[in-house]
């Protein structure tokens, strides 16, 4: 056995429920004992389309929340936006359907050992894994403030039960249809200046993650971001999901966001080199 994805397993998981929530689907899967090894930030890779499908690749989704029921064992919650052919297929599956899943995959969010002030920032359905994370942080005694943003109100995912796990929750939409008018990154600089943030956890579009990394640069605030890069396999064998990451000596490595992420240190990602080929060696 290797140290990569050492808790991962491939299982058949039954859909317990599939509900539409705004622009998204909330899908609950029975995963039994696997629930005990899933951590906030891990993701799941799901086979889509059935046996005769022309879709040969799995679809990766952040695990939104894990629940530990008594009767049916553990369950995994996913928040899925029906955008592409794979996610549309998944959202059309009904209760009782069995899915071929591989989980938990990737590096999870790092949880502080002592109580800190945590700011959780989610963009679009990127907010999904933050509610499970908020519960874990709260159990550690952390103060949890949450900022959620989207282009429009229908794309804000903020379930009622999730709101309870955060001390404060502020919503931003670019069209002003819900919460404050503007971008979710707008209040972050002031929060950092006030000294009311120790760690920022973020999940959402790459442009948002980059913007937060620029705001935390030169400060003591740690930025753990869950990156999103298109991947074929999700388990580290295809090399398609690489991101440029800075090493201590200043050189750049192209790391796989599936196994070296999805949670990465925002200060280590070379955001200006994403989509480019960095030079070899030290500058």
């Amino acid at each position: 056995m290797s140290s990569i994805n050492k808790s991962a397993a491939q299982i058949n998981a039954t859909i317990l429920s599939n509900k539409r929530v705004g622009a998204y689907h909330q899908i609950l899967l029975a995963i039994g004992d696997l629930a005990s090894v899933c951590r906030p930030g891990n993701f799941v890779a799901i086979s889509v389309g059935g046996d005769s499908s022309r879709m040969v690749l799995r679809r990766a989704f952040a695990i939104s929340r894990i629940t530990h029921g008594s009767a049916s064992g553990g369950a995994m919650e996913l928040i899925v936006a029906p955008h592409g052919s794979g996610s549309k297929w998944l959202c059309a599956q009904e209760e009782g359907v069995e899915l071929d899943i591989v989980a938990p995959l990737g590096k999870a969010f790092g949880i502080p050992t002592n109580a800190v002030n945590a700011l959780l920032v989610g963009g679009g359905y990127g907010s999904a894994p933050l509610f499970g994370l908020a519960e874990v942080l709260k159990a550690r005694g952390c103060r949890v403030d949450m900022l959620l943003g989207a282009s429009t109100g229908a794309k804000i995912y903020a379930p009622l039960e999730g709101k309870r796990s955060a001390s404060t929750l502020k919503i931003y939409t670019e069209d002003g249809t819900m919460g404050e008018h503007g971008r979710v990154t707008a209040p972050i600089r002031e929060l950092i200046t006030q000294g009311s943030v120790d760690v920022i956890y973020s999940c959402g579009p790459m442009s948002m993650l980059r913007a937060i990394s620029e705001l935390t640069e030169g400060t003591d605030v740690v930025h753990q971001c869950a990156v999103e890069e298109s991947m074929a396999c999700g388990i580290g064998i295809c090399m398609t999901c690489v991101l440029p990451v800075k090493n201590e000596d200043g050189s750049i490595s192209m790391l796989r966001s599936c196994i070296d992420g999805p949670v990465m240190d925002g200060a280590e990602v070379a955001w200006d080199l994403v989509g480019k080929v960095p030079p070899i060696g030290t500058p």
Partner: protein, 314 residues
């Protein structure tokens, strides 16, 4: 129908393998990642990702596009360089009891020879795959396997270093006018076997940007979409050179697909893209192939190799 025991072993040149299903180069990294999902000892061998002499970052992202029954990839031979690979990845695989076929790729004939020299110095490797057909490089002129003389020169340089200790397997592209002509050139230059086929060069245009989707513009098409191309190439080459062992690959996703390549003339079958969609594809394909060979009345893998070429039994 037969319940008789099945000889599931196979050979590629002088290398023996207990099972006929392998990983495909570039589709299993260095093996560690898949070892979480099955025991690497249970398959024929791990064919490692083609490695070059120096560290290489590869092509820019996006590197992937799913296509009907397949995908395009544009990795561009990202890798740690041969020294780190031989010092870390190969010992790990050998310690786990896995059989290892090392795949090398060079920019020049000299680089292939240098890589072969370094591989020769390491004990325990089962075979050397010489990838002379990676499509994801800056200049397609680097694709040695597109011309008889460049293909032959790359293999000749390796043959001068490897004197029969391990088989040399040349990996060819189907993107040529006559693959049998390239195959005969590399066999004449000293290749002991052939790996057929590399990915097929393709492109996807993104309708949001109205530009080529992949960072490297072009990419290699793989998956079930190209399986008939693989079957055809293997069939043609086996027909022209029936004694040259072939490691077949191209869109194999089931035991029946593997048997199809074997019947066309492959002695072993590599599974690549199927592992992306299913981490346990390789052991599953092996089980399916084993049942299917028995069901068809074959006593061994060897009996089925190239069977599609034989005169019909009356």
């Amino acid at each position: 129908m037969s319940d008789a025991t099945l000889d599931f072993s196979t050979t590629l040149g002088n290398a023996w393998f207990p099972a006929p299903i392998f990983t495909a180069s570039g589709c299993a990294s260095s093996g560690k990642e898949l070892s979480q999902f099955f025991d690497l000892r249970d398959i024929g061998a791990v064919v490692t990702k083609s490695v070059m002499n120096k560290v290489r970052h590869g092509r820019p992202t996006p590197r992937m596009a799913e296509t009907p029954s397949g995908m395009l990839n544009s990795i561009g031979l990202q890798g740690p360089g041969i020294d780190q690979f031989l010092a870390q990845d190969v010992p790990w695989l050998l310690a786990k009891g896995s059989r290892v076929i090392v795949s090398i790729a060079g920019e020049t004939t000299d680089e292939y020879a240098m890589l072969a020299r370094k591989v020769r110095a390491v004990q325990g490797i089962s075979a050397l795959e010489v990838n002379i057909s990676c499509p994801n490089v800056e200049n397609r002129g680097m694709v040695f396997a597109c011309e008889r003389d460049t293909a032959a020169r790359a293999i000749d340089g390796v043959r001068k270093i490897i004197g029969g200790e391990i088989p040399i397997i040349a990996k060819l592209t189907p993107d040529v006018t006559d693959i049998t002509s390239i195959a005969s050139a590399v066999v004449d230059a000293g290749a002991d076997g052939l790996a057929l086929i590399n990915t097929v060069l393709g492109m996807v245009i993104n309708l949001d940007t109205l530009k080529p989707h992949l960072g490297g513009k072009t990419g290699g098409l793989s998956g079930p979409a190209i399986r008939p191309v693989a079957v055809r190439a293997i069939y043609q080459v086996h027909s022209a050179m029936p004694t040259v062992p072939i490691l077949g690959m191209g869109g194999v996703a089931s035991g029946r697909d593997a048997l199809e390549l074997i019947l066309a003339g492959a002695s072993g079958v590599s599974v690549g893209t199927a592992s992306f969609g299913d981490p346990t594809a390789i052991p599953r394909i092996q089980r399916e192939l084993s049942s299917l060979l028995r069901a068809k009345g074959f006593a061994s893998v060897k009996d089925a190799v190239g069977f599609a070429h034989r005169e019909e039994r009356s």
